[in-house]
């Protein structure tokens, strides 16, 4: 009885939370279908009178959201994959071994996380210029990898520390090289953590704004947040919020789909992990 009751409470709370969030997305959708006059003249919570598709057309042609999405997709996927690989390596070492200078390395990663992005923007601009990486996706991707590596390392170190060692030792007795046993035995064991980190990275990079704004100058290279920012300026200076929300809606759909797909893997990854234990 008690268990049934608590389940109902959980269900209710999750339900309310989900409905609030659902409502907010419905609201974004409603705003994206309104004309400027409607947004201004009616309550922001009212239904659109007619479906104003022009906002979507404008977001794609004037706001170039389609191009920006492609840019964001490239930048986000490459950065995330490389960042996960690089931080798996460092996380493995830091979680697994004691060695001289370990504290120093951990400290370096920690400090890198604590440096506020604003204050390195100006010198970083010069660094990228020196490396001839300004106004290029390669430069931005490298910065994003560097941005995610400390956080990932921090999280993955904690996971590697709790990983059972027996499997790795068994692999070594079977004659596997250290590199092979890392790739074939250790990495698969961290899949749930990697998926979790991956989702976090995708979210951070997909939404990253400051570096993208400062380091990209050619309009065709912009990422989604810079594009959305531009639409936001349109909204501020011509009270045309419709195009902003339409652009937003277009840009979040693929991410939500991706999210839905990955979430299944994430959930099953956890279930698998639980079965093993």
């Amino acid at each position: 009885m008690q268990r049934f009751g608590s389940r109902a409470v959980i269900f209710a709370i999750l339900g309310i939370y989900a409905v609030i969030n659902l409502f907010s997305f419905v609201w974004v959708a409603m705003m994206s279908f309104k004309s400027s006059k409607e947004i201004i003249g009616t309550s922001p919570w009212s239904l659109p009178e007619t479906l104003h598709w022009k906002n979507f057309a404008d977001a794609l042609t004037v706001g170039r959201i389609g191009d920006y999405m492609l840019n964001s997709l490239i930048v986000t996927s490459v950065s995330t994959v490389v960042a996960l690989l690089v931080s798996s390596m460092s996380g493995y070492i830091l979680g697994r071994f004691q060695f001289r200078g370990r504290e120093l390395v951990t400290g370096a990663f920690m400090v890198a996380m604590m440096i506020p992005p604003f204050m390195i923007v100006v010198p970083l601009f010069d660094v990228l210029e020196t490396l001839n990486l300004l106004d290029s996706h390669v430069g931005l991707i490298l910065v994003y990898i560097a941005m995610q590596v400390p956080l990932n390392t921090f999280i993955l170190t904690a996971f590697h520390r709790t990983l059972p060692r027996q499997l790795e030792e068994a692999a070594a007795l079977d004659g596997a090289s250290p590199l092979r046993s890392f790739l074939q035995v250790v990495l698969p064991l961290t899949t749930p953590a990697l998926v979790a980190c991956g989702i976090v990275n995708v979210l951070h990079i997909w939404n990253e704004f400051l570096y993208a704004l400062v380091f990209l100058q050619d309009r065709t290279k912009y990422t989604v947040p810079v594009g959305i920012f531009n639409l936001g300026q349109v909204a501020d200076y011509s009270s045309n919020w419709g195009i902003l929300f339409a652009g937003m809606l277009i840009s979040i759909l693929p991410v939500l789909i991706l999210f839905a797909v990955f979430q299944k893997q994430f959930t099953s990854g956890i279930a698998q992990g639980a079965m093993k234990l």
């Binding site: 608590s6 999750l14 937003m248």
Partner: protein, 304 residues
């Protein structure tokens, strides 16, 4: 469990594997050296020079900039506000995140839907999420006040973002609503490492699920949780985007945090030296608080 984490190192087989240490650490260290450490060192240098205006001047002025910001009441206010933001968000974020991650693992039917709905706000750009919350909290046609008026609580309606007592709270709610996915994902991934038998044993003993969660799961989750607390600390001290969009530090500075004030001084105010000095101070504060925090969290760790 916590004890197994610190088991002895140095099995014979590790010797071969130790050859991986340098090549495995090199890529990560190289990246942060080039893209974070080199610029950071330049920032430290700038903080000791006199750079006022758009174009660089490089006169060494010692600690003048540091003395300047320590005598600046607006900077000190922003430091205070940053701590307020951190404390407020801490007491809101973690209980909610812990509850939701626990609830998500418990609920069987519709879990994917709930999870999806809770994570979905994270894909909204801050620009849009911020605009949305400004609409929700607008005093005259905002959803919160309209709801309050509709249910007869008109006297509760307030200009939420327009008064010092509620503005920070409004921002924190928006930040957590938007960013909670990250923390739930990491918590769930952490819970995954907890053996199921221990929980089931407790359940068999007749403890309720919630009590089991508090007594069994939480302590085992502690290493992950303490990591997340430090991560949140770092993020909270760098707070910027939502505040910039929602209140821009207002009303009259009551939501101005170190991040927004630094941006205002360094970028809008072209005072790069002062801004750099603030960045150095801010990094030091985070460093000290997180080291203290980790100590504190570790000492509690021993209890289990």
């Amino acid at each position: 469990m916590a004890r197994t984490a610190t088991r002895a190192y140095g099995s014979v087989l590790d010797r071969g594997r130790r050859k991986l240490i340098i090549p495995f650490l090199a890529p990560g260290l190289l990246l942060i050296a080039v893209f974070f450490m080199v610029p950071a060192i330049q920032t430290i240098w700038i903080s000791f020079t006199d750079w006022y205006g758009t174009f660089r001047t490089n006169g060494f002025v010692g600690f003048k900039n540091y003395a300047g910001i320590m005598g600046d009441p607006l900077f000190l206010q922003s430091v205070r506000n940053t701590f307020v933001y951190f404390a407020l968000s801490l007491v809101l974020l973690f209980p909610v995140a812990l509850f939701l991650s626990w609830a998500l693992l418990r609920v069987r039917r519709g879990r994917n839907f709930f999870q999806f709905m809770i994570f979905a706000p994270a894909v909204l750009s801050v620009a849009v999420a911020g605009v949305m919350w400004k609409f929700i909290l607008n005093p005259n046609f905002g959803l919160v006040n309209e709801t309050l008026r509709a249910i007869g609580l008109e006297s509760w309606a307030q200009p939420w973002l327009g008064q010092p007592s509620t503005a920070m709270f409004g921002i924190v709610v928006a930040v957590i609503w938007h960013g909670i996915a990250t923390w739930i994902i990491l918590l769930i991934a952490g819970m995954d490492r907890i053996p199921g038998e221990m929980r089931e044993a407790a359940l068999v003993d007749g403890a309720s699920e919630w009590k089991t969660y508090i007594r069994i799961t939480m302590p085992l989750l502690w290493p992950v949780l303490s990591t997340l607390l430090v991560l949140w600390l770092i993020q909270a001290f760098q707070a910027f985007a939502f505040i910039y969009v929602m209140t821009n530090g207002g009303p009259h500075g009551s939501t101005e945090v170190m991040g927004t004030y630094m941006y205002r001084m360094a970028f809008e105010g072209r005072m790069f030296s002062s801004g750099s000095a603030m960045a150095v101070v801010m990094t030091l504060i985070v460093l000290v608080v997180s080291v203290l925090g980790r100590r504190l969290l570790k000492s509690e760790d021993i209890e289990y």
